[in-house]
């Protein structure tokens, strides 16, 4: 029997606010344990939460970007469970009335686009972190992360393969980073994913019994874990067994999923509205103001680049991987009017430089203005494209403008006919054998002469002029 996987994803994204969701503590990652805490995020007796407005604003941004309905009002609920990384004994989350619902995200697959439904986006607070001492029977708790704002983005069970899941995740990641509301750092846990997976016989409407997968902390692991889990369930079903409803942990090293807890052991979270917080009414004007302020999203930008700049879809994809890169590219395009050439220099050289050093485009020593100037110098014939390869490398290393490097290194293209005629004459005299071959009909030797003249002029000969002169002189 052929089975079809049914997958839904729950993505947790840390919001890039300066302060925590219910107190004024910093959200900065990497501080010494428990240094970013106060009585409120420590959940001490008598303290009360006050909602950070930025959290609501950022969640509205994500809601709009995923075509969700922004509810007029939302409220918070307590999710009750005991764990030492949860100092209040409950997590403040949204339950019955989330901020955003009923949206979608379009993903690009090899065989076209697919729409994945977004069930809801809700706000919640993060928990702390436990650190276990391997040598002593102690556990330590770091509550710096406690109260850092999160949004949970819950998808519809619309995903049908590990590849689709991966595409959907990348898409969400890209949107969050574009909106500048999440840094998307998976290693530091700013972007985390859980998956619900079940199989059903192809053609069947009803869903099968699902397992929930946790602990997949990279795009690759999500894909691997899903591929494994789909195979595992298929094996179980084909053997006439039943899939157990349970939570399973992905084991990265073993490349397998392990059962963590069964349905019977599942917590009863006893959700109820948090009486310490009030309903949040979301003003329509506020939503409109945020909508107007929304940046262009990656997919739209990609389509516009292809349409307006007539560049290949692949190039548009590369050039829009980040908002900063796309802005860089567009700045160069506006200064030069050469979209394809600008793209080639950025993709071929600039990206290679910064990727080698793991730098951000914002830190690139070559400004869009400097790159545009270099492109202009090529267009004007001051330097050849070949020389430019050397120039751009020097620009990156020194941060100096192209003109300075060209002048200093004497890289200006030779466009003086007399000088080139001189050089060609010398090369012809030094290679009588090749000249003989050419004149007897061996056209291929032409390339040899081009190379020799270039060598003699250290590559500075204007290629077009050299070509014309060489043809004339060799034919004589």
């Amino acid at each position: 029997m052929e089975f079809e996987p049914v997958i839904g994803l729950e993505v947790h994204a840390q919001l890039l606010t300066d302060s925590k969701i219910f107190c004024g503590c910093s959200t900065k990652f990497g501080a010494s344990p428990n240094s970013h805490t106060c009585q409120i995020c420590l959940g001490m007796p008598g303290v009360l939460p006050v909602l950070n407005r930025k959290v609501v604003e950022y969640t509205i941004k994500m809601g709009l970007a995923t075509h969700c309905r922004i509810n007029e009002a939302c409220n918070f609920a307590r999710k009750n469970y005991f764990y030492p990384d949860l100092p209040k004994g409950y997590q403040i989350s949204q339950y019955a009335n989330p901020l955003a619902e009923h949206g979608y995200v379009d993903i690009e697959l090899e065989n076209g686009k697919k729409r994945i439904g977004v069930t809801r986006i809700h706000i919640e607070e993060d928990a702390g972190k436990l650190m276990h001492d391997e040598h002593h029977p102690f556990s330590y708790v770091d509550l710096n992360r406690t109260g850092v704002p999160l949004i949970e983005i819950v998808s519809e069970p619309d995903i049908r393969s590990a590849e689709e899941a991966s595409a959907y995740l990348r898409r969400l990641h890209e949107i969050l980073v574009y909106l500048e509301i999440c840094d998307g750092n998976m290693e530091e846990g700013s972007f985390r994913c859980d998956a619900n997976v079940s199989l059903r016989p192809k053609g069947q409407e009803a869903f099968g019994i699902r397992a929930e997968l946790k602990n997949m902390n990279s795009f690759r692991n999500v894909q691997r874990a899903l591929e494994y889990e789909i195979k595992r369930q298929q094996y179980v079903l084909e053997g006439g067994g039943v899939v157990v409803q349970e939570t399973r942990l992905w084991d990265d090293t073993g490349g397998v999923t392990h059962s963590m807890r069964s349905k019977e052991e599942a917590h009863d979270y006893r959700y109820f509205p948090d009486p310490d917080l009030v309903w949040v009414a979301i003003n329509e004007d506020w939503v409109e103001a945020i909508r107007k302020d929304q940046p262009e999203l990656p997919l739209e930008k990609r389509e516009r680049f292809v349409r307006d700049y007539l560049i290949p879809a692949y190039d548009a994809g590369v050039l829009t991987t980040s908002r900063a890169l796309a802005d860089y590219y567009e700045a160069v395009v506006h200064l030069t009017g050469k979209p394809k050439i600008a793209g080639n220099w950025i993709m071929g050289d600039i990206l290679r430089f910064i990727n080698e050093e793991k730098r951000e485009i914002a830190d690139c020593p070559i400004t869009p203005q400097a790159l545009a100037e270099m492109i202009r110098l090529i267009e004007e014939g001051t330097i050849s494209g070949k020389i430019a390869k050397e120039v751009i490398e020097q620009m990156y290393k020194t941060g100096k403008p192209a003109a300075t490097i060209i002048a200093k290194k004497g890289l200006v293209q030779i466009t003086d006919e007399g000088a080139l005629v001189q050089a060609i004459t010398e090369v012809m005299a030094a290679n009588p054998k090749q000249l003989e071959q050419y004149r007897s009909g061996k056209d291929k030797v032409f390339g040899f002469f081009v190379g020799q003249v270039m060598k003699a002029t250290q590559g500075k000969a204007n290629p077009q002029l050299l070509n014309d002169l060489l043809k004339k002189m060799l034919a004589r």
Partner: protein, 485 residues
Amino acid sequence: MELNQLTIHELQEKIRSGKTTATEIVQSVFRRIDAVEKAIHAYILLTREAALAEADRADEAIRKGDIRTLTGIPVALKDLLCTRGVTTTCASRILHDFVPPYDATVVEKLRDAGAVFTGKTNMDEFAMGSSTETSWFGITRNPWDLERIPGGSSGGSAAAVAADACIAAIGSDTGGSIRQPAALCGVVGMKPTYGRVSRYGLVAFASSLDQIGPFTKDVEDCAILMNVIAGYDPRESTSVPAEVPDYRQYLARGIDGWTVGIPKEYFIEGIDPEVMTAVRKAIAVVEGLGARCIEISLPHTAYCLAVYYIVAPAEASSNLARYDGAKYGFRAPDSRGLLDMYKKSRSAGFGAEVKRRIMLGTYVLSSGYYDAYYKKASQVRALIKRDFDEAFQRCDVILTPTTPTPAFRIGEKTDDPLHMYLSDIFTISTNLAGIPGISVPCGFTQGGLPIGVQFLTGHFEEAKLIQIAATYEKNANLEKRRPTL
């Protein structure tokens, strides 16, 4: 009269005119505490040295002419208000050594107004009780009869004021915990509107019902304390930015032409006849002052107790989850592993009543029971609130007995939780509706036990309560009595 027997406004007068000093007042209060504390046990903790140092500073300020509303006035704090550097126990073993690194907003406000804190008063553990018998630190006795309870949960605050072991006190009221002990100890106690006084730093019992309020010797002192503690607090989301009037302006306005609602559901069988007589007399006094008393109905009254004992334990079960032995407070010494530590610490750290309510609350929020209990209770709560909204269309204030009986005997109801819960039957609806209420003394039983009358009004209309309570107090011609200790 001794200084400790005076009211805030009388002492203010003496301080202003230079007839006494803060130090003399504080010393007088501590002399009284030394004399009576053994018998009544109103305090969990006395902060004598800090108080004397404060009094010193207050006298220095007075000399410089910096006299504030409460400069040099000794005030006692219920031991669930967080005090920076001073143990705050909630009368529970689980917090027996908890020292908050912060002050409650109310404590800050009182401090800024010049108040001198005498100590932390006894209470039912986590404010769960009506008799101050569930405290880990032992019971408090009623100053009027040491064989009887002072009421609860703010029994220590009420007893301290009644025994002149402070000038005024602060308590909290979740289902009657200020008004009921005020009535049983013969003092004035007000529960303000939910959202009127900041809950920040009040250790939560039931967050949607808890409210801080004053215990005082008369209504004028109540107005003075309300002037200090009321007001919007940005640290609390449920705090309401409503304007706070000067409550003292309402003391002498009279109630001529007012309509007073007498809810028929509150004058029922089972009320102690002496309480009934005293309250009937109070109605007559109010009528004599130009108010028209009309019978009204609060039809959902019968459901109040049931709703309360779902909502309050539900919230409490979650609020008290943080006491797990992991971070502060009591941790069972002999535990093995995390779950065992939780179980043993909470089993030994909480008393029976607290555990009963945590279990009740956990049950009503459980999957499969939420709709039948918590959700249904929330719906009925809305109806109870509507009862009051409709009633206040017809009357300015509502008058009821504060409690069905005078103070009962120690131990009388400890084995019978349901019977104990019934002693709050007239005060609970106020918290469910979020409206303000005040209890004012209205006489004594033949056995010499105080009786209280309760006035209720609409949201944020505490001024009306001050107005009617002050007018009543002035004209009731009650016999001036002090407990003999």
